[in-house]
């Protein structure tokens, strides 16, 4: 005995002893291993069944195990205040690098009530700690999830607001539907607006002279003679030619008209024709689109 804590040390000759050869035992652990060692130990016990012996085992080098046991009724009779029960020393016939202190027989089912209670309390506390930690982790994750979903909802609401500002669409429509409308608008604009070098710009390549008859008329009128009395009968403009028919007061005015219209930018005047029909002098002028020097 030592202090308040009861530690029994009995002489080695009160114990059953054996060094077991475990080289042929299957590799098992836990209760099965203890049972296998018990059967090996039983074979060297002096007519005592292993069920009547409480044994502890200590691994030794080289597939050997040191077995140390006491009759069950002896162990069961130990006072409840005793904490450990071990041999004072190993018997002389056993040479093993094991301290006798390690061979505590008050273990397993015969562990002191206080030790068993302490183990249960420790286990319960550990389990409770695990539950609390898990609950905290789950709570934290759930809060993070809620914050993320709130953020996602805010992003979607912001996106929806931005789309509605542009499309002016119905506020009851789904965001995906609004986004589709927006995308449709973008695609339509891409197809219908000129981007230098883009597909829209390339449309009509080969007929670049098409569609500027209004500009041609503008240039023609800008070049129209002001120094002679010229009455316009007709002007016809197409992609490549301008035909002008005018009434003149005198044959000499033809030169004035010719000189003036020859200055029409982008157009080349060809030889005009003048004819007299009764009292009228009719001049027909034809202008052809000038070939651009840098044209392909």
């Amino acid at each position: 005995m030592s202090g308040a804590r009861m530690d029994l040390r009995w002489p080695a000759d009160r114990f059953y002893w054996a060094v077991l050869d475990t080289s042929r035992l299957p590799a098992t652990t836990g209760a099965r291993r203890t049972a296998q060692l018990g059967y090996l130990f039983e074979s060297v016990l002096p007519g005592v069944p292993i069920e009547a012996v409480h044994a502890v085992y200590e691994r030794l080098p080289g597939d050997r195990v040191l077995a140390c046991g006491l009759p069950v009724e002896t162990v069961a009779a130990i006072n409840g205040t005793t904490m450990t029960l071990a041999p004072e020393a190993l018997p002389d016939f056993i040479e093993a690098p094991v301290s006798a202190e390690r061979l505590n027989l008050l273990s397993g089912a015969y562990a002191p009530a206080g030790v068993r209670r302490a183990r249960r309390v420790t286990l319960v506390l550990a389990a409770l700690s695990l539950v609390v930690v898990s609950a905290l982790v789950v709570t934290g994750l759930e809060r993070r999830r809620a914050a993320l979903l709130e953020h996602a909802a805010a992003l979607e609401a912001g996106r929806r607001e931005v789309i509605l500002e542009v499309t002016g669409g119905s506020s009851t429509a789904a965001t995906a539907q609004l986004a589709l409308q927006l995308e449709g608008r973008r695609r339509l604009l891409e197809r219908t607006r000129t981007i230098p070098g883009g597909a829209s710009a390339s449309i009509g390549a080969g007929d670049s002279q098409r569609g500027d008859a209004d500009h041609a008329l503008e240039r023609l009128i800008a070049a129209w003679p002001t120094s002679a009395t010229v009455r316009c009968r007709s002007i016809e403009i197409d992609e490549s030619t301008i035909s002008v028919v005018v009434l003149l007061n005198a044959m000499a005015d033809e030169e004035v008209v010719r000189d003036a219209l020859a200055e029409t930018p982008g157009w080349t005047l060809t030889q005009p024709t003048v004819e007299r029909r009764g009292a009228e002098i009719i001049a027909t002028l034809r202008l052809e689109r000038a070939v651009e020097e840098n044209a392909p």
Partner: protein, 182 residues
């Protein structure tokens, strides 16, 4: 039958671990949702930027085929804008519809052709009308002009103006299909 404490602990750890794992997966799904929404928002902003960029550009292609009535309204709008009497407008007639070669972008485009007539126009009115038309109908091109004197002389001279116009439009749009079927 009583369970060994170690088995109970293992079971407890398994149950709690499963719960934590499920929650972690839910958080991962929420993170993915945030990433998806953020990506969608960025995409939307890029789309809007593209729209604003294109809206500042000149329209060269019509969004759909325009029926004659619509073209007539455009002429009337241009006349009003040019401060020219609407009575000058004689009418619009369709001249046909042409298929355009593929520009390499798999969009089917066609060219619609039409002709419009304006009567009793002065030279100044012709100029104002053409300017108004050009400003409001950038996708429409004046392919040909025929200006013929009718009455008067000098600044009082009146002319009949016939203008052939054309515009490219996207044939694949639902609008144009609906109109084609009507």
């Amino acid at each position: 039958m009583t369970m060994r404490p170690s088995i109970l602990v293992v079971l407890l750890v398994a149950v709690l671990g499963f719960g934590v794992m499920v929650e972690a997966r839910r958080v991962a799904a929420a993170e993915a949702e945030v990433a998806r929404q953020l990506s969608a928002l960025i995409g939307t902003r890029e789309t809007i930027a593209s729209i604003e960029r294109h809206e500042g550009l000149r329209q060269t292609v019509e969004e759909r085929r325009h029926p004659e009535n619509d073209l007539g309204e455009r002429v009337l709008d241009a006349l009003a804008s040019a401060d020219v009497d609407e009575a000058r407008f004689q009418g619009v007639s369709a001249l046909g519809d042409q298929t355009l070669p593929d520009a390499g972008d798999r969009i089917e485009r066609r060219r619609q052709l039409a002709s419009m007539s304006l009567d009793q126009m002065t030279v100044a009115e012709v100029g104002r009308f053409l300017a108004a038309w050009r400003g409001a109908n950038t996708a429409w091109h004046a392919d040909g002009l025929d200006v013929r004197h009718t009455t008067g002389a000098g600044s009082a001279a009146r002319f009949t103006m016939t203008m052939r116009v054309s515009a490219i439009y996207i044939a694949g749009s639902s609008d144009s299909n609906a109109e084609a079927g009507s």
